[in-house]
């Protein structure tokens, strides 16, 4: 153990981590994985799976092609899905005679876990993406001193897996409209130049001077800021061409610069985070250049462009140095702008951003007014921020003794006697069932239906969002619980109803894992209020158990059980942050990198800044594949 860890810290950032903690190098692990794959996985799949998932995909899983190319992106994904199904006894179907033993199932899951070592060392390509609305607004604020509300007319984005919803043509016209407004504020026509105008455009050259040359200089500095890297010559030519266009149409020097400025603001180089252009390198994998690194880092932690210090380090070519990069993470996290990490990443991880548009039955939950919804999201935000700011362990997300409340939200907690007024403030909690994201109204509400709780949704949420497990999707043609066509459901409690899942063979195996977790939270109603009785007036039974068999009988006990699984909590958080940071789902070799990061993160007691710093310093964050 020690040896591996020491070599780790010596090698630091470079990513050439050839030795893992068990002392096996990558080549040995790969050889082992190949052997396991050939001798174990293959026979298992052929025996139990290929009859249905063979030559063609069934339920989207084709294991024959996965067997042919196990290290390929889709092969690996198919195996992971298969393992999730086998693990919970969802597959092979209960009505087939050939069933693996419990030991075989466990082994299969373990073998699939080794397949990552088959994957070639690969950081993946640099995925371009458009700036989010927030990033766009912040960028305009930081670069041009305009109020970020200038971008309010853009529609809110719907984000999923780090991707944005696509942009319609009328929406893109809004970018032009906003660019017009920015230009009008920065360089108002017919008025004395503003301070920012002077900074961006410089002095108007005297009569007879080379205006075009001056314009080229302005273009260079405008583009350096806006494109977040030095522009290419071709890009400068385009911009100067637009300056010329203005002059040809009888605009004066300043007005022509304004036209050019507007062009910068609607250029894809500004609106998209892109790699800096073609790399000269012949290698298939190259480090990100310092400009890309600066943007990736500042948009991750600030949702804003690199500031002068970051940009300066990129200009000097120093940013990629491990100690410099780590120090910058530290600096950025201390800055107030790092609050953006919740809006970008945190809300998406906890899935609470859905709360705004979620429908609640107005008769049953008349209190779900905008002010309360806002307070719920603010609570999650402030709680997330406090953990980052105070560099607490990731475990505190699940188990803590404080939260943030205002009066409307305090009513949900039953604390309205002590918390008055609309201002959110930190509140110490004494009730062990509260404190942490499991007992938090925002998450309890987003996992509910309009008129009732959903133990199933809550169970899935805990397993996937908190513990990072893969839950197999429900079979496509099975109606949801409340839709089932039975006359005998009347008079059953939700628990009894939900437990009926477990009487149906197709549902039983997954639901006996999902439902008990959700039942543990049944004392919280669909908007997160405590209750002792169901809507039917029956006492809530919140006893349940985790997939590993450990039992609990209250939300507080569930919380304690989850808090003990710190390695799982931390790994899940790390994986999700990594996927968000590099803008793609994790796969294959990524798992190997995460394994390596987890060793270092564990040594720092799973503190949040260790996680963020290791993600930023990782091979995946700092490299990209440019060929193959």
């Amino acid at each position: 153990m020690q040896r591996g860890a020491i070599i780790f810290s010596l090698l630091g950032l470079t990513g050439f981590l050839a030795v893992n903690v068990a002392g096996m190098d990558e080549a040995a692990l790969r050889a082992d994985a190949q052997k396991v794959f050939k001798e174990k996985v293959g026979p298992f799949v052929n025996k139990y799976c290929t009859r249905c998932h063979g030559s063609r995909a069934k339920a989207g899983i084709n294991l024959q092609s996965a067997l042919k190319n196990p290290s390929g992106e889709s092969g690996m994904l198919h195996f992971k899905k298969a393992a999730a199904n086998v693990k919970v006894h969802d597959m092979p179907p209960v009505d087939t005679s050939k069933q693996p033993t419990d030991a075989e199932r466990r082994q299969f899951v373990e073998w699939i876990g080794k397949l990552k070592h088959l994957a070639p060392r690969d950081p993946g390509p640099f995925i371009i993406r458009r700036l989010t609305k927030t990033e766009y607004a912040n960028t305009l604020r930081d670069l041009y001193g305009v109020d970020p509300s200038i971008a309010d007319s853009l529609p809110d984005e719907v984000v999923g897996e780090g991707f944005l919803n696509s942009i319609s043509s009328l929406q893109s016209e809004l970018f032009l409209g906003i660019a017009n407004k920015v230009v009008a504020q920065v360089a108002p026509t017919g008025k004395a130049p503003t301070a920012i105008q002077k900074r961006l455009f410089g002095e108007v050259p005297p009569e007879g001077a080379d205006h075009r040359k001056a314009a080229r200089g302005v273009a260079r500095s405008l583009a350096r800021d806006a494109y977040r890297r030095p522009p290419t010559n071709a890009e400068l030519n385009v911009l100067v061409g637009i300056y010329d266009l203005g002059r040809k149409n009888n605009l004066n020097h300043t007005a022509s610069l304004s036209l050019m400025f507007k062009a910068v603001l609607v250029s894809p180089q500004f609106l998209f985070i892109t790699p800096a252009g073609e790399s000269e390198s012949k290698e298939p994998i190259v480090p990100l250049d310092d400009f890309q690194l600066a943007s990736r880092l500042s948009y991750l932690l600030w949702s804003a462009p690199p500031d002068a210090e970051l940009a300066g380090l990129a200009d000097k070519g120093d940013l990629h140095k491990p100690e410099v990069l780590r120090a910058q993470v530290e600096r950025l996290l201390k800055d107030d702008r790092s609050r953006a990490l919740f809006d970008g990443f945190g809300a998406q991880w906890l899935r609470v951003n859905a709360l705004d548009g979620q429908v609640f039955d107005p008769k049953r939950f008349p209190e779900m007014k905008p002010a309360l919804r806002t307070a719920m999201i603010d609570e999650a935000r402030l709680f997330f921020e406090s953990i980052v700011r105070e560099n607490q362990s990731v475990v505190r997300f699940v188990d803590s003794d404080y939260t943030f409340l205002n009066e409307p939200l305090a009513k949900v907690y039953g604390l309205e006697q002590t918390v008055r007024g609309p201002k959110m403030r930190r509140v110490k909690l004494t009730n062990p069932n509260r404190g942490g994201i499991l007992g938090m109204p925002a998450t309890l509400a987003t996992t509910s239906f309009p008129n009732r709780t959903s133990p199933v949704n809550r169970g899935v949420w805990v397993l996937e969002q908190i513990l990072g497990e893969r839950v197999p999707p429900p079979p496509a043609d099975i109606p949801e619980l409340e839709e089932q066509d039975h006359q005998d459901v009347k008079g059953l409690t939700l628990r009894q109803l939900t437990e009926r899942h477990q009487s149906e063979a197709t549902c039983r195996n997954c639901h006996k894992i999902l439902d008990p977790i959700g039942f543990g939270l049944e004392n919280f109603d669909a908007i997160g209020r405590w209750r002792d009785k169901t809507d039917e007036g029956l006492a809530i039974d919140s006893a349940g158990q985790l997939p590993d068999g450990t039992k609990f009988s209250t939300p507080a006990e569930l919380k304690n059980l989850l808090a003990k699984r710190e390695a799982d909590l931390a790994r899940n958080f790390t994986e999700r942050l990594m996927a968000f940071a590099i803008g793609r789902q994790l796969r294959g070799y990524d798992d190997v990198v995460i394994d390596q990061l987890m060793i270092k993160i564990a040594k720092d007691d799973y503190r949040i800044r260790a996680i963020i710093t290791e993600v930023v310093a990782s091979y995946l964050f700092t490299h990209r594949r440019i060929k193959g």
């Binding site: 995909a57 339920a59 989207g60 390509p125 371009i128 993406r129 529609p155 809110d156 719907v158 999923g160 991707f163 919803n165 696509s166 942009i167 319609s168 043509s169 009328l170 929406q171 893109s172 016209e173 809004l174 032009l176 409209g177 017009n180 290419t232 071709a234 890009e235 385009v238 637009i242 266009l245 203005g246 605009l251 036209l259 507007k262 062009a263 609607v266 250029s267 894809p268 180089q269 998209f272 892109t274 790699p275 252009g277 073609e278 548009g357 429908v359 609640f360 039955d361 107005p362 239906f449 309009p450 008129n451 999707p473 496509a476 043609d477 109606p479 409340e482 839709e483 089932q484 066509d485």
Partner: protein
Amino acid sequence: MDSLALAANKKAAKPPVRMAFMYMPHGVIMDQFWPKDQESFLNSPPPIIRSLKPIMDQCLMMKGISGVPINPFNGAPHALELSTWLTGRLPDADSRGRINIAISADQIMANYVGAHTLLPSLELATMPQTWKENQEGLHEGYYNHCSYRSPTQPVPAETDPRNVLNRLFGKRGEKGRVSQANPLDRQMLDRVLGGARDLRKTLAKPDQQKLDEYLDSVRSVERRIAAIETRQQEAAFEKNGVAPSKRHATDSAPIEVKIPEGDKRSEYMRVMCDLTVLAFQTDTTRVSTYVGSRPNGASYPELGFSNQHHSQTHYGSDQEKIRKVAAINQFNVDQFAYMVKKMHALKEGDGTLLDNCIMMWGSGLEDGNKHRRDNLPFILAGKGGGALKTGRFLSGVKGNQADLLTTLLDCVGVPLDRPIGIATKQIEAIKA
């Protein structure tokens, strides 16, 4: 009619034919949707379509249109009901993780007639098109889109009616509108697009597609500026007594569209319908698609229950659920009826606006209970400039949804070099 108006009338060409598609997911309660026969169609229509009764003579229903068979995607009926709706074919089974299907009927029409109007096509949706975990390994986009610009490019829809209204029909002199923009903008954008080509070359294919989406939308802004220039010229001519070619003096004035203040679904859907009407009336576009709701997700608190649409559709023999689904079906048809009735009341050329349009309402499933696709529910309204014979219920039609789309494109005068999707023929019975 005074002589000037007469002169203008003489000059006016035959109004263009326009076509719109309005979608509802999860199918219908069949026995409350299909008329028994021609007589009941006209005089005692079943509950779901009852709101169309006053203008049944302007409508056409045909029973027997089957959906594209969805094997090997049986586990993803809802992604398929939407994505096949206007493409008439299945996604590519070998590249499920990416969008790879076919250009949709509305976009084929947009390619053909779009150059004449401010917008080549208008795509509307009631709610944001969110990404969702999907079944059968299919890309999430298949859950959200029925319009595809090319096999790999879904067309994003507008969900904010205020934005559509301001951008397309904003009052003159309003700030921030393109029509007020610097006339050099068009040439500036052209250069920006040219410059983006170098950037594009350095990108991997999926990234190129992301960039293309933006570049396409910029291109459409550029085109809109050009169209606005034309429109302003027309306005100037009009001021000098030369009537615009497309309008008759007797045509109804453009309708007023008000953006609702609250969040009632009916008001929201109606304003989207109004925008479609206004866009057609002003010849802002000639093809429009409105995804009234996506599969899953929608609920209808106005109807007195908060259940989500999909959660009620696997009703089995549960009468309560059947009642709720029928109410949702009726609600959706009511909004369609609101739209086509309005169009029927607007004069255009020698007849009504509706006479010159084909408005199609429908779903991608026959019923949501069993995901059947043998008799997809469709309602057509409008004569398409005389191409369709309305006022009929055709019960024994044989054909599939791609045949229908192929027929409709023929009716609006779009020549096809090959039939759409799995089509093998046209459905002659619906034609005049």
